[in-house]
Symmetry: C2
Subunit: 330 residues, 2 copies
DNA sequence: GCAATCATTGGAAGCGTTTCCGATGACGCA
DNA sequence: TGCGTCATCGGAAACGCTTCCAATGATTGC
């Protein structure tokens, strides 16, 4: 940087100010410095900058299950925005509660990042405050709605779209395969998706039948198990609503193995519009996953730019009717 | 750090040495320093450390397609090892050639990471040299075999397992769906998987029939197209070998829509053992994806520890026979 | 038993920025 | 014209660590 300053004929102090867009630098001077930096193809050392009190130029992204399509796609969207803004992405896989505690404890202390994006899980108030007091911004994506900047779908309305579709087709016995996060089995992964199911049935004047609801850890194989349980009922449902497409795929497998036809013998609907859903001809409620990542990235950028925080954004979902749903036979 | 040194009754120099595992520190002293650090819950500032000439404690991972199961899973494996070793993961999505050039140009200059893991693509000699001259270690995973540390499967042998299985079942007209990376359409994604197909047929004394080979961009939908092209042949194959499971899924969809039965009318085999393969009852050649990530991470760790470089590791694949393959009918 | 060798340790000089504080000059207003 | 303001800019002190260079004391070979 000394070279740049010399070449521009200013002091290092001024060079630094010009380079980091500070006010109180004459436009002409700034231009001169920028030109000099350009010619010397100079870039500030993030380490030194950070050490002296600047920003790190890094954003931490906390992901619960990297290899799941949903999170990986979200991550892809975030990365693209952040990379365009010349920010680096620090990836943290946070599986269980211990990891999580570890993360929130360590990161702020080490000040490794200027901001945090939390994917797919709610941020507790204490954690949020802790980060914010340390000047670390925070944004959530693909998770539950809370009182801080987030991007997500409206779980309840997505669920309604799925269940209402089944209801509209005249199904009266509708099963639900709900999921919990295998890493945190005590918290339902998507309470909104369950609640909306209850409400939809109630609104349709149908009685709540707990035996039609089975809760399993997330995953296709568990979805298959869940379907088996539903089939073992004295009076199985005529349609099944699964909390996610991957779970629905498992259900479909079980139905096939049982020799049942879809949608003639059983309708199946999922949520997500996983790329495989089109191939499997699965009716589902689509959500724009990558876009949510992009939006979250942008939101973070404006937060970092000092703009006033948006409360949150809910992106729309839409029912995609394919071949896995039809009116019940009887 | 001054606090830690004081508390341990040593100088900062010694404290630094103890903390960063340098030799020439008495075991007792080191223990004392470590204990003091523990009590004060102190961690070295990576910025300051790096600035003063130390390591960044960061590893860059370069991924071509984050949202694909294969890469996301590899990434998950790498992250877990690196995180255990207290290294941070910097994620870089490198889609096309421009991104790639950008990455290799920028990263070394800014010295943001101590090492680089490149997923799923060959590293060119120039790039490797550039990194190594700057003291940045490099490891590749899930890609093609080259003359530097890598972890991957033996593409040729995996392909042989798939094709030989078909041959063993007595198929004589075997189609292949080969893939290219949509971002770099001029380079075949997996030349080894194509070559082995040719060789297997030759070894079986079968003539090479170019019309049985169709090359498409990676992806299920493209796989579906490819299958359609194969079906439009005057004499379609009796079995199809796809370069990856995702492509095979697409092929399966086309076959179903065409009213053909699997495996009676057509056998299908893929490579990867994607989680969905079990659900789809797809015969495939399984490769340990997460393990490859873990291995790559470990390899990097030993490189970072100054141990002599391993040339590379090839992990075994195995044929998983499911319901999508059977002898031809006629 | 003595000198040479070696393992440990401490002192202090950076590493490349940012920012506080004060200085300088230009500009506006009375 | 004179003086106060304010926009700009420069000097220098951190920021928190690593490592070179010596110095010290312990160990070993003859």
């Amino acid at each position: 940087m000394a070279d740049v300053a010399r070449r521009a004929g200013v002091s290092m102090a001024t060079a630094s100010r010009a380079l980091s867009n500070h006010p109180h630098v004459a436009a002409a001077t700034r231009a001169r410095v920028l030109a000099a930096a350009e010619q010397l193809s100079y870039v500030v050392s993030p380490e030194a900058s950070r050490l002296a009190g600047g920003a790190t130029g890094r954003v931490a992204v906390v992901v619960p299950h990297i290899s799941r399509w949903f999170f990986a796609t979200l991550l892809e969207g975030i990365e693209s925005v952040l990379r365009d803004a010349d920010l680096d992405v620090l990836l943290y896989h946070v599986g269980d509660a211990a990891d999580r505690r570890d993360f929130f404890q360590r990161l702020p202390a080490r000040r490794k990042a200027d901001a945090v994006v939390v994917l797919g899980m709610p941020v507790r108030d204490g954690e949020r405050e802790r980060l914010e007091t340390m000047g670390v911004h925070i944004v959530a994506a693909g998770g539950q709605v809370e009182a801080y900047p987030y991007v997500s779908i409206d779980d309840a309305s997505a669920a309604r779209q799925a269940v209402d579709h089944l209801l509209f087709l005249n199904h009266r016995r509708i099963g639900m395969i709900a999921t919990v996060d295998p890493a945190e089995p005590h918290w339902p992964a998507n309470p909104g998706r369950s609640r909306a199911y209850d409400e939809a049935l109630a609104d349709a004047g149908l009685p709540a039948d707990p035996s039609l609801v089975v809760t399993v850890p997330w995953g296709s194989l568990h979805g298959a198990d869940a379907m088996a349980r539903l089939l073992s009922l004295r009076e199985p449902p005529t349609a099944v609503y699964a909390h996610s497409d991957e779970v629905a795929f498992g259900a479909v497998r079980t139905l096939r193995r049982a020799g049942l036809r879809i949608p003639e013998d059983m309708s199946v609907v999922g949520i997500d519009d996983h790329p495989m859903a089109e191939l499997a001809d699965l009716t589902t409620v689509a959500q724009p996953v990558r876009d949510q990542g992009v939006l979250a990235g942008r939101m973070l950028l404006s937060l970092l730019a000092g703009e006033t925080a948006t409360t949150g954004v809910t992106v729309p979902t839409r029912l995609v009717v394919r071949g896995s749903t039809a009116p019940p036979r009887r």
